[in-house]
Symmetry: C2
Subunit: 322 residues, 2 copies
């Protein structure tokens, strides 16, 4: 019975927001690496990472972070990946694995690959997990448990490097799948990018009405609206970059969505109750499928807490017995 081997000697984390700091915490919790070195663009974030003790070492530059690292994970908005790849390229150790966590893969491969030297293994990754919060305080070690991490290694990537990164993500609790960058971008356009765009849209729509006040929108949001506000509170920079980087697939999905909105609108306008009922019954089955495979909780209302009933005296003396 040998002790469990660490997967990597020195992991370099570039960017320590929600995802980067969750990786740091999970690596520690699972003993996945001997040491963690971290860096972030802003001095405030670097200071906070040090205060939280998320890394063995916090350094000021991306170049310094990657020196001697056998795994480098870039966890930053996808629009910033090209510049970071150009910066770290000359400083990467031979044989190092370079990965990322970006929500778009075609653009990331296009932007990063040209800057990475021969002898370095580029294995792009996307852990499909997150919350509406941002920054190093928002992360937690369990974020990736039972979530999927998608690897999109370019053709010709060393299979051993891919296996090693897959083992890393499994150790952090994730399930691992792999596909081409283009297919990833199409799949995520529908399971993530379109939902975010629609949520951002409807929250904006509700905020711009004249006949209904913002106060009313907030008060009565438990009727359904509040569910959309969570993902519409996601990091604006990250999401701006996602839509710019995955433009074609998002526009394709938006086109299909618009057709479906038009069809349901027509059913409402014509009073076609049967069409509505049929559609609403079908979508119920999708929810069940997601809960059945453990990708959401069966708890009602996402498991939101419900406070106890207040046992206070009645506001006025009513009733027949007193």
């Amino acid at each position: 019975m040998s002790k469990p081997a660490t997967l990597f000697n020195r992991v370099a984390l570039i960017g320590v927001g929600l995802i980067g700091s969750s990786i740091a915490r999970a690596v520690r919790a699972q003993g996945a690496a001997t040491s963690i070195v971290a860096t972030a663009r802003s001095a405030a974030t670097r200071r906070r990472v040090a205060e939280l003790g998320l890394a063995d070492q916090v350094v000021e530059s991306n170049a310094a972070a990657v020196e001697g690292a056998d795994l480098v994970i870039v966890s930053i908005p996808v629009g910033a990946c090209a510049a970071v790849a150009a910066e770290i390229g000359p400083h990467l150790a031979p044989g190092a694995i370079v990965s990322d966590v970006g929500s778009v893969k075609g653009a990331v491969v296009r932007d990063m690959a040209p800057h990475l030297p021969k002898g370095v293994h580029f294995v792009p990754a996307h852990p499909v997990a997150g919350t509406e919060y941002s920054g190093p305080d928002a992360g937690f070690a369990e974020l990736f448990v039972n979530r999927w991490c998608i690897l999109t290694p370019p053709a010709g990537t060393d299979p051993q490097a891919v296996d090693r990164l897959a083992a890393f993500w499994r150790l952090l609790g994730a399930n691992v799948d792999s596909m081409t960058p283009d297919h990833h971008d199409l799949v995520l356009a529908v399971t993530s990018h379109l939902p975010h765009l629609i949520a951002y849209t409807i929250v904006g729509t509700a905020d711009e009405l004249e006949a209904v006040t913002r106060s009313e929108v907030l008060k009565f949001s438990a009727g359904g609206f509040r569910d959309f506000t969570r993902i519409a509170a996601s990091d604006p920079t990250m999401w701006r970059d996602v839509f710019l980087a995955n433009k074609d697939a998002v526009l394709e999905m938006l086109g299909r969505f618009n057709e479906d909105v038009a069809a349901l609108t027509k059913a409402i306008r014509r009073g076609d109750g049967d069409a509505l009922f049929e559609h609403f019954t079908r979508t119920r089955a999708i929810r069940k499928g997601i809960v059945d495979i453990g990708q959401d909780s069966p708890a009602p209302d996402f498991g939101r807490p419900h406070p106890d009933l207040p046992h206070e005296p009645l506001p006025k003396p009513y009733g027949s017995e007193d």
Copy 2:
């Protein structure tokens, strides 16, 4: 110190699904009535209500349920309200309060009021609360705590009856507001009906793609999509009726939503990152407003549970130390 007075002597519940059964449980928990009589359209539901002990008496007809009741609450799809009102009208006790819980108020007032005799107080109500589950097993006593219940009494309604129903809902933990039926229907069109329609649409869109399989949609739903599936799993009959009954306000909100989708689509097509960033920053503030007034949980990801990290041996012997 007198014991707290019960608000009502005999509460009749017509319809005992998620909402009706939650009312039954909350009335019991808070001692809001001396006795509860319940009925439901299907024999199976009546049997289940009796098994669960949700009422003191379960009867087979709406007419029998309302005999001698001083409060009648109709908790059924809004499309069925006219027929039920016609049925109970002749059997209501003088001075009784008749209310409902429908998500549309204009149509309910139009459909029910003509059937209710003079001397009976009609106070329509809408508790803005629910989950994606249906039926008598789905209810719980705390459902209404800190949620809003909107009363829409027609002009000329006895203020004492309105006050008494308001006191009832407060005793069940709700905050109470009142407004006209038309304004209610506009407010709920944006805070509830439009979100449900959009959720139903996008879940259908995702299920009809050729290039992305249903299995992929389910697996990678944690990217945002799964949030929409919860409300798209709501009761199909209830929601069919809502859209038919609140057609004008829903179509108005859909028109505005479509304009906003078009504006964001244009920003993506043109690569206008500043417009996207500005919009995404603004919507973040709305989420904060909802959490600040206690209408949603500040817990990340709605407080969804995250399983612990599995401390299992590594899948393969990797790393530098073994």
